[in-house]
């Protein structure tokens, strides 16, 4: 595939978005009956489902921690989520993303309240179009809240990137592939803590600061939507 025009002459991106504009976002919670908590998140073409179980007993037993809950996280891409079939076996990349998402969640969950138990988080990518880890993190955080697990704050995930020299918000697959840098962050906007930050590519110090600021603003918009989504679940019951 040849490199497409990422920033058009009018300053807009290849899909017509402004540099600081998010893709259309959709969210829902409580979508799975069997899970203790669940969520569905859509960032444009990226579609992710998350399910949370627990706190529950740990099997195998020896993994249990005596002083806090164990958080286990599986980030997985469905074999039909990409244009070429993806092998369903966990890849190097998926194992890494499971780890960074788990560590982001550990920063906000009060695990010390449930010693010798486990909280299992499953993230399934149904359709991948860039920003799957950030959409997955958003979904996981919503699902944890939906399961009633005590935590400091919700986490909104969003990626920023540099394409053709321009710092842009919420990059998609094409922009990720042909851009110069990609920086996903996880941001707990209420307590103003960054719980996940990765950077692939090169940014100057000024660009980094600008990108981080842009990511925070984007995450705040997503954070607001997450809170509304949790609220809506209960309002829906009342209006019926």
């Amino acid at each position: 595939m040849e490199k497409p025009i990422l920033i058009r002459e009018d300053g807009l991106r290849h899909d017509g978005r402004k540099p600081d504009e998010l893709r259309p976002i959709k969210m829902d919670v409580g979508i799975l009956k069997n899970a203790d908590g669940s969520a569905y998140v859509e960032y444009g073409g990226t579609k992710v489902i998350a399910a949370v179980y627990g706190p529950r007993e740990v099997y195998p037993r020896h993994l249990a921690l005596p002083d806090r809950a164990l958080i286990r996280c599986r980030y997985h891409m469905a074999s039909f989520s990409t244009s070429d079939r993806k092998s369903p076996a966990p890849s190097r990349r998926e194992i890494e993303l499971s780890k960074v998402i788990r560590e982001a969640l550990e920063a906000v969950v009060f695990t010390e309240l449930y010693p010798r138990t486990t909280i299992d988080v499953f993230i399934e990518v149904l359709q991948a179009d860039g920003g799957t880890r950030t959409a997955g993190l958003t979904a996981a955080s919503l699902a944890l809240a939906d399961a009633g697990i005590p935590m400091k704050d919700l986490i909104a995930g969003v990626a920023v990137g540099k394409i053709d020299g321009v710092i842009v918000l919420d990059i998609d697959e094409v922009e990720d592939e042909f851009g110069e840098a990609d920086m996903p962050i996880g941001y707990a906007a209420g307590i103003e803590e960054i719980v996940l930050l990765q950077l692939n590519g090169v940014l100057t110090r000024e660009e980094f600061n600008k990108a981080l600021e842009l990511a925070k603003r984007g995450a705040e918009q997503i954070y607001k939507l997450m809170k509304e989504t949790l609220h809506k679940k209960y309002l829906k019951v009342l209006s019926e």
């Binding site: 203790d36 908590g37 627990g54 706190p55 529950r56 007993e57 005596p66 906000v108 009060f110 309240l113 449930y114 010693p115 010798r116 138990t117 809240a145 939906d146 399961a147 009633g148 697990i149 005590p150 935590m151 400091k152 704050d153 919700l154 707990a188 209420g190 307590i191 809170k227 949790l230 609220h231 209960y234 019951v237 009342l238």
Partner: protein
Amino acid sequence: MKLRILVADRQIVRPGDLLAEIEDSTEHLEERIIPEKHIYIKNKKIYSDTIGLATITDNDVQVIPLEGVYFPKKDDIVIGLVVGVGITNWIIDIRAPYKAILNGSEVIEGFNPIQHDLRDYLDIGEYVLAKITIFDRTRDPVLTIKGKGLGKITEGAIIEVKPSRIARIIGKKGSMLNLLTTKTGCNITVAQNGIIWARCPDNNKLDVLVKAIKRIEEKAHMRGLTEEIRLFLEKELGEKREK
């Protein structure tokens, strides 16, 4: 400690929502959680740690959760399912992150593991109404069935609800439970782990009771729920009588 409360009573709050600010405290308060109130304090601010209803009682704020698993507490009445039989004890599932233990000596007087087979008294798949006597998180909860009304459940129906809804099913000073009992004529035992044991005069009454309980479970965050349930019960039971 004086609080400036920023939420309304019975407002739905989510993790990380600011509930109140501590106004007059001059000393530095370190970050801490108060798990039973579902709040945490950081930088003189009080936040919610879960999704629930904010409840304000004179100069205090707490959150009643709307979701969550049952977490055992000493002296709670629970209904458990026998899932395992050992030599000296039973393993009971109380829908908590930990399996509970019921010792043989609790049920059998002069218990001797050589003489007695525990399966003769309680077998897998049977329910017991029990009380938690020991629980400190480092070890699994221990149950007792010594007490009024406790023991094996031999009749009636078991209704499972979300444990977070139990407070609503009982209601303020037992108002909701009173309503359910008097209107349906059922004998209802509500266990803290989200299991309800009902003994009803007939199946019609049981059906109505189950429907009412499911309605409470769904609309736990609604104001004036007791009144709605009263109307619902009157309508359902009235119709049944006409038939």
